[in-house]
Each structure stands twice: as C-alpha cells, then as structure tokens.
Symmetry: C2
C-alpha cells in the first residue's frame, strides 16, 4: 500500500493506471475509519482494479461553530485499517495544497443542498461538492463509493456528477450499524456512555416508522409524530429535523405512496448525529 501526499503525484499515477486500462475505484473519507468505511472499501475493491482511499478533513464543509478543529484524527490507525482491506493508495493531501492562497472556486448543487442538513449547515454541501470535485479531478476514478448514511450528500453528488458530465459511476453503500443499531460514524467517539444510549433513539425511531408502514399507516404526519415523540421523550436529545422526502429530488412527501426517505438529525449533548431509512409502502402487510 502506498501513501501519497502530493496532488501531482496522485494525478500522474492515475494517468498511468488509465493508460494501462486499469479501472480506478475511489472512496473519499475524512479518516478516523470505522467498519462503515471499510465496507465501502470492500465494495469499491470489487468494482475496480485499483483502490484509492483519500483521507482529508475538509475545512470548507464545516461551519464556523462546528467541530473541524476537534474532528477525530488518527492517521496511523487509519493506514493499518486501510491496509487490512487491501487499499492500493491512501491519498492524504494537505490543507495548504488543497486550498492555496487565492482559492475562490466552488461547486454548488442548488436545490438538493437546501433542505434537511443544508438548512442547519449553510454552505456545507457547497464545501462537499467542491472538495469531491477536486478529489475526482485528482484521483480520476471510474467509480466512487459513498455511504448512504449521508443520504443527502449522496444525492447531491449524484446530481453534481450528472449535471457536470463527470464521467464516473457513483455507488451508494447501505448504512453499516453497530450491533445495537447505532449508525457507524467517526463522531460516535464524542458520545459519553449515557449519550451513546440516548443516541439509539435515532435508529429505534426509524424502526418505529418502518413498523407503522408495515401496518399500512402511510400518513406522513402520523409517522413523523410517532418518530418525534420517541426521539424527544426527554431533553437528552435535541431534534434538528425528522422529515419525509423523495429520495431523488428531496421534495417533501406527505403520504408514503412510493419509496420515501425518512431522514433524522439530532443533537445528543454537543454531538450532531444523523440517520435515515427508506420507507417502502410495498412492505405494508396486505391483511
């Protein structure tokens, strides 16, 4: 496994691979890898001939009051984990090379960036779209794999790739969960033991919603009422949003008549957590 820090070196290697007819698979990450990342990497490995993983905590996708400075980092551990799933190259660029003086270009996916996390994190998806564009231009992948936990991010990137004619495939990977249901996230390390317990309400409320749909309760308001009353049973959790949206357009949905995204964001202590699932009316019992 090779560690590359230089943008130019990465681009040259990508060119060489492409000249050799190699399919380049790519998983961009912010590091502090967990089993969710490794699952993306295994999928990516099976989709390409060579696998590049980037580790870059992207400053421009964090708001001024967010956790950029304290975001967990452990490169040595990350390299060991990447090696364990046979990553070919770990690309670890430096902030000063990614955002040199005079940097001023951004990529904006207008509509899909507005609701949900876009509302509480203004500029976040512009930062994501911009850094992903940069990474795609550096790694030159044929295929890139993103987790469905960041469902809106995946929707934004798919739209960007289509709109800007980026010539690669985007694959979404199902959420990977802890045995107790908590969606894996590098930010879970922030949680105290008590908060970790409260955090389970996110996945639990998704299960509640799925059960309602199974019982043919397809009214959005009713589902969201059940979800929020479980999430907000006490002040240990502060809800950011719980919403039903079209998985492609992210338009609001009031009745579950086709597969519909249920997306949740909530603060447990100072930690912002997100989770989601697709509610499928085809799974309703026809009694």
């Amino acid at each position: 496994m090779k560690l590359i820090k230089s943008i130019e070196e990465m681009q040259k290697l990508a060119d060489l691979w492409r000249r050799d007819g190699k399919e380049i698979a790519f998983v961009p990450t912010m590091g502090y890898l967990h089993e969710g990342h490794l699952a993306l990497m295994r999928t990516a490995k099976s989709e390409g001939d060579v696998l590049v993983v980037s580790i870059f905590v992207n400053p421009i996708q964090f708001g001024p009051k967010e956790d950029y400075a304290r975001y967990p980092r452990d490169l040595e551990r990350d390299l060991r984990l990447a090696e364990s799933v046979e990553v070919d190259v770990v690309f670890v660029p430096e902030v000063k090379d990614m955002y040199p003086e005079g940097f001023q270009t951004t990529v904006d996916v207008a509509e899909l960036s507005k609701p949900l996390c876009g509302k509480s994190r203004p500029g976040h998806f512009r930062g994501v779209a911009t850094v992903v564009t940069k990474l795609f231009n550096i790694v030159k992948p044929h295929v890139a794999v993103f987790g469905e936990k960041d469902f809106q991010q995946l929707a934004v990137i798919k739209r960007m790739v289509k709109d800007l004619n980026m010539d690669l495939r985007i694959i979404g990977h199902p959420i990977v969960r802890e045995p107790d249901g908590l969606a894996m996230s590098s930010r879970n390390v922030y949680l105290s033991k008590e908060e970790r317990y409260v955090a389970l309400r996110l996945s639990q409320s998704l299960a509640i919603a799925k059960n309602l749909v199974k019982q043919s309760i397809l009214d959005g308001a009713e589902i969201l009422k059940a979800v929020t009353s479980h999430l907000c049973q006490d002040n240990a959790l502060r809800l950011d949003y719980a919403e039903l949206r079209d998985p492609d357009t992210l338009d609001e949905v009031s009745v579950i008549s086709k597969p519909t995204l249920l997306a949740i964001a909530a603060f447990v202590g100072n930690t912002r957590l997100i989770d989601n699932c697709i509610l499928n009316p085809a799974e309703a019992y026809t009694a």
Copy 2:
C-alpha cells in the same frame, strides 16, 4: 473531420484517444467562427495530437435581456471553416442534453467574476465556468486554448482550473484584429456601417493609452481620462467601463508600475463590444 452531437460518444472517443496516448487539444466556441477562432485552432493543433472544437451557444451565460436568441449561428459555414484548419472533431451538443430537466449545479469563481463584465452581466461568469467545466469533462482535453479578447473569462478559467485541480493546460491566444484594428468578434456582424466605424474607438483608445505609457505617463487617472474622452466624444458610443486592473487578480490599479490590464466594454447601438490590452511600463521611453 467528424461531427459529434452525443455527449457519451464524445466521452468514449476521448477515452480511446487517451488510452492510445494521444494528446487532446480543445477550443470551445459559440460558433459563427471567424479568423480569431481559427487562430486559436491553429495554436491548439500545434499543441496536441488531435483537435476538438465545440460549438455551443450556452444559454446560461446570457442574461435575460441579452442576445441569446439572436446570437449569430451558421453551422454549415462553421464546419467548412473548421475543416480548413484540420479540426478532427467538431462537437455540437444540444441544449436539452447539456441542461436536462432538474439541472441545478453551477461552478462559481467568486472574486474574479465580480468586477468588469461581471458587474454589468451578473451570472455571466458562473454560466461560463459551468459550461467550460462540463465541456472539459466531456472532451477530456490535455490543453485548451482561449482568446485573450475575453480577458476576464480567461482569468476566471485559469483560476477555476487551478482551484478545482483540473489536470490540463490553459493557453491564452493574443487578440486577432481586423486590418483597421477592430477586435474580431462574432458580434461584429450586428454592426451597421456607421456603427462599425464608431466601434474603432475601442482599439484606438487602447493605442492612445499605450502611447501615453510610452511617454512615461503612468498615472491611471490620467490614462483613463484620455481613453474615455476618445471613446465618449459623442453619444454614438455608450461606455460600460474602462478600467485598469491587475491581469492576475483583477484588482484595481491606480499607477502603472507593472504590466497592467486596460479593459474596455462599450455599447455601439445595441451591440456590446469589449477590447483590452496590457500596458507595460517597461515600454516607456527612458528619455
């Protein structure tokens, strides 16, 4: 020479060329080709193994009151001219394929898009940066050539390429002029015989400025006064701007102490014309 209309076909051919180790040179145009375009093509031809020219009148870089609908078009003539300089592929995408339903992604070069033409044409450079990004992702060039007549456009694109790590070279080509000095432009066809004569004031005023610099007059206000008084000698010309700017940052310049951009935009009748030159204090006579 091959005519390609399909985005996918263009991308596949670009991939094939790249696999074969061919250097792809690219000249994006809005068609209605003139000698200025052909000069860019000849330069591009000498920089690569294969030459692609795109012809696409890009709707999103025109303001609602601008000349998108009446912009001159003549594909047959353009194809003949392209063939004459041994273009390999003319890429002519359709608006519906470039901007399908749901399109919402834009590329913005914040600071360089603000002054000069950006002031009177809000959104123009966002439209340019977006379509050029798309065309680069479709044609996959190693090198692209742009005219220096659209100086700010060239500056915006250079910055975008650097900021987003697009792996290609951008070459600027000097302005090509008619024998009487008028900068070549597809829009010159709009001019009546009388307007055509008035339009000469743009290149004449550049010459006046250059002469002042040769005489060691380096004060910006003094130069601009001479320029505008020639341009605005009567109402046949309506000045949009005449400004001195740093060629890289486009910051305002008050004294010519290093090579400085003199940029002019003016309406002659309903036709908006632009022209520019670099004023170089090294060319002052040291008497």
